[in-house]
């Protein structure tokens, strides 16, 4: 008896954070800094910042396959191979064969089951959502109204931006509110020309991509060991300079420095355990992914930060007499309104001239063209919402040689010189909330830990697809406005959910427990000491990259949770 009590005590913390990625890192930092003893549970293996970035400093010739992944590795990484199709970074993507899922409709579920999660491999474009993003559902009668407004998040955006470090240019645009910025990265000469031409002829502003890279580290950045971007653009191998924001480089070290952080790896959370009255959660049940040993951990408050699909899956799998369909699922909203951004559509051009212009360094990031459709004075389109673009102009390198005609000494020499300039633009379109776009847990298929496999049943709808014409045509129009040549457009009809790696929704926030899972502080309506602060909380998708908003929501929820704990309200 005493033994049991002691064991339970040893496994009790003030707070448990499930997941060590983008938002789990923030929850850990905020909760430890506010005095809580925190246990972070990471389902994957441990990656140590810097020392485990084994390929980061390798030269090209040191890779046996010079970057190409083998047929065996491609089979293991079937969801992420388009992105991890490089030898140097494949270990930072989850082995999909070991972690299978079911595609009722096509879905690329791209994951990072290891310390830092997808913060190790993210694209790093970082934007605030705008006022309209939080109002559009209500105005259009779509989905449900957000329980918060832009103004609620402003102080939290400001707070996380300062710590993250985002390089970018302040523009004063309502459609793309400014963040607290580090100095912006430079544009290439044709990009400067493009920006000027499009502003003059089409009145559309273009800005340098806002990316979470340090370009002028501040004392609070160097304090956790981060340095300025070295412009190597080998980011997905892990950055030994800690220059781009990841939980490994930034939030976890900050949390660790409080001496109140414990991280347990290989710990797959199976379910949340409720107290006897089924009013509150008392802990989580964990399976060791290697030994299969099952252990329980206890805490006053639980933050789910396992990624959109991961967090919602845990709620779904937490069944009880009170919650037969999953924790907090009285509304039947768990798993519904799955969103992403649709992409793989845009325009390209060749650029004549600028022969004397070049650039030094490999820039991680691109231009950003903010949404201009269905915005301001723009004529109403035959679809709702809008899209933005990422893209840029660069000179072709030696790799053009494979497709270029000719061989021999002249060909060889030509490949050692900078090639012609080219520019491409890729659209990122908003996806509307749709209750029929969903995932659920398989009733019969399980993984090797006995947990039900996820079944994806979602696709873009007519509205999402309608805006792709504009994405192509508007992109081509801008490239033509700059006088670029051989303008072509592309729209891959096979584009489907998941490829944006911006999974959102499935446990949405709202005012009414009948139609939403979480309240305005990301608390489960019917189980107040469980907070969900990753992409699953989103009630709509905007067209800009979502991570900054997740981070702001997490810091805000953590602050609220600690205040509630202190007031003994949790």
């Amino acid at each position: 008896m005493n033994l049991n009590i002691n064991a339970q005590k040893a496994q009790t913390y003030d707070a448990i954070v499930v997941g060590s990625g983008m938002t789990g890192g923030w929850a850990a930092k905020e909760l430890t800094e506010k005095g809580l003893n925190v246990l972070v549970l990471e389902r994957g293996y441990e990656i140590k910042h810097v020392e485990d970035y084994k390929t980061a400093m390798q030269d090209p010739w040191e890779f046996e396959h010079r970057g190409k992944i083998t047929t065996v590795a491609a089979e293991e990484h079937y969801a992420s191979m388009f992105f991890s199709a490089k030898e140097g970074s494949q270990l930072n993507f989850t082995n999909d064969k070991e972690h299978p899922y079911i595609q009722k409709r096509p879905f690329n579920w791209i994951r990072g089951y290891h310390t830092g999660g997808k913060s190790l491999i993210w694209g790093k474009h970082t934007y605030r959502w705008n006022r309209e993003d939080f109002l559009a559902n209500a105005k259009e009668g779509l989905g449900i109204d957000w329980p918060i407004r832009y103004e609620d998040l402003v102080p939290w955006y400001t707070y996380v931006e300062k710590f993250v470090g985002i390089s970018g240019q302040a523009e004063g645009l309502a459609v793309l509110p400014d963040s607290i910025f580090q100095p912006p990265m430079a544009m290439t000469a044709p990009e400067v020309h493009f920006k000027k031409s499009v502003a003059q002829k089409l009145n559309r502003p273009i800005t340098m991509g806002r990316v979470a890279h340090l370009t002028k580290p501040q004392p609070w950045h160097t304090a956790v060991g981060r340095a300025s971007c070295q412009f190597r653009n080998r980011c997905t191998r892990g950055c030994p300079f800690g220059a781009y924001f990841s939980s490994l480089a930034a939030t976890l070290p900050a949390a660790r420095s409080t001496n109140r952080l414990t991280i347990l790896h290989n710990a797959i959370v199976k379910e949340i355990i409720l107290d006897d009255h089924a009013q509150k959660a008392k802990g989580v049940r964990v399976i060791d992914q290697n030994t299969l040993e099952v252990r329980d951990f206890y805490a006053k408050v639980i933050f789910l930060n396992a990624g959109t699909i991961g967090s919602t899956s845990i709620l779904m799998n937490s069944k009880s007499a009170r919650f037969p369909n999953g924790l907090g699922n009285d509304s039947d909203q768990l798993g519904r309104n799955l969103m992403d951004h649709h992409l793989a559509v845009g325009a390209r051009a060749d650029i004549e001239g600028f022969e004397d212009d070049y650039y030094f360094g490999a820039r991680p990031g691109s231009l950003y063209i903010p949404r201009f459709r269905n915005w301001g004075n723009d004529k109403k389109r035959d679809y709702l919402r809008g899209f933005g673009y990422q893209g840029g102009a660069s000179r072709a390198d030696w790799s053009r040689g494979g497709a270029e005609q000719g061989f021999g000494a002249d060909f060889k020499k030509r490949m050692t010189q900078p090639g012609p300039w080219k520019m491409s633009l890729t659209g990122f379109g908003e996806v509307l909330p749709d209750p029929n776009n969903r995932f659920y847990l398989s009733p019969d298929k399980t993984d090797k830990w006995g947990l039900p496999q996820v079944v994806f049943d979602a696709d873009f709808n007519a509205n999402d697809r309608a805006m792709r014409k504009d994405i192509m045509n508007d992109g081509a129009e801008m490239l033509e406005a700059a006088g670029f040549k051989n303008v072509t457009t592309y729209d891959n009809p096979a584009a489907h959910m998941g490829l944006g790696i911006h999974e959102m929704g499935t446990a949405r926030m709202g005012r009414d427990p009948k139609t939403s899972v979480l309240n305005k502080y990301n608390q489960v309506h019917t189980c107040k000491n469980v907070f969900v602060t990753d992409g699953s909380a989103m009630a709509s998708a905007s067209n800009v990259n979502p991570s900054l908003t997740y981070m702001a929501l997490t810091a805000r929820a953590a602050s609220y949770a600690v205040a509630q704990l202190k007031a003994k309200s949790l």
Binding site: M57, H65, R66, K68, T71, G402, F407, G408, M415
Partner: protein, 185 residues
């Protein structure tokens, strides 16, 4: 779902910029050759290896800088063929080598070799089909890629800058070599 379709989705994120050989390399659903991978055995015989090396050297010959053979391109091509390409692609490659053997590449004069290779290139371009890959596309891409990622190729061809430290627009100086950052892998 259709797996061939899924394969083509691989390229869509990159705006379809992956070349046909690269795409085919991802064709995990076709048969691979696990036996040869396990024991590290070559899939080429002596003659095939000699022809491959000759073609690679014709594509990137030794000049005032090292050529494909100096840079170890033939060994590289063998490794990639074995580990990264499916059986049907390997067969295309082997057939192409066989054709050149039949045409007497190894015994031809240097000029005749160049002429023969030009014919192969013209024919490959004339017969380009979506979703398929020719011997010429394969050996051309593999040679270029193997050479310009090799230590000898990089150091003799480019201004290699593994840690540039900054990004800035510049003007090209006369005779400027291209920069190489090593981020393509």
């Amino acid at each position: 779902m259709n797996r061939r379709e899924a394969l083509s989705r691989v390229s869509l994120m990159l705006g379809g910029t992956l070349s046909a050989p690269t795409l085919l390399a991802f064709d995990r659903w076709s048969q691979t050759n696990p036996e040869s991978r396990e024991n590290g055995a070559s899939i080429l015989n002596e003659e095939q290896r000699e022809i491959m090396a000759r073609v690679a050297e014709l594509i990137i010959p030794k000049t005032d800088t090292p050529g494909a053979v100096d840079a170890g391109v033939p060994d590289f091509i063998e490794i990639i063929l074995r580990d990264c390409y499916a059986k049907p692609v390997q067969d295309v490659f082997l057939t192409g080598l066989g054709d050149l053997a039949g045409k007497g590449l190894l015994t031809a004069s240097p000029d005749q070799q160049t002429t023969l290779l030009k014919q192969v290139e013209v024919q490959a371009l004339a017969n380009t089909k979506a979703g398929s890959v020719s011997f010429w596309q394969l050996i051309k891409e593999l040679t270029v890629w193997g050479y310009f990622t090799s230590e000898a190729g990089i150091k003799s061809s480019f201004d290699y800058q593994p840690i540039p430290g900054k990004f800035e627009p510049i003007k090209i100086k006369p005779g400027q070599k291209d920069f190489m950052y090593g981020n393509q892998v």
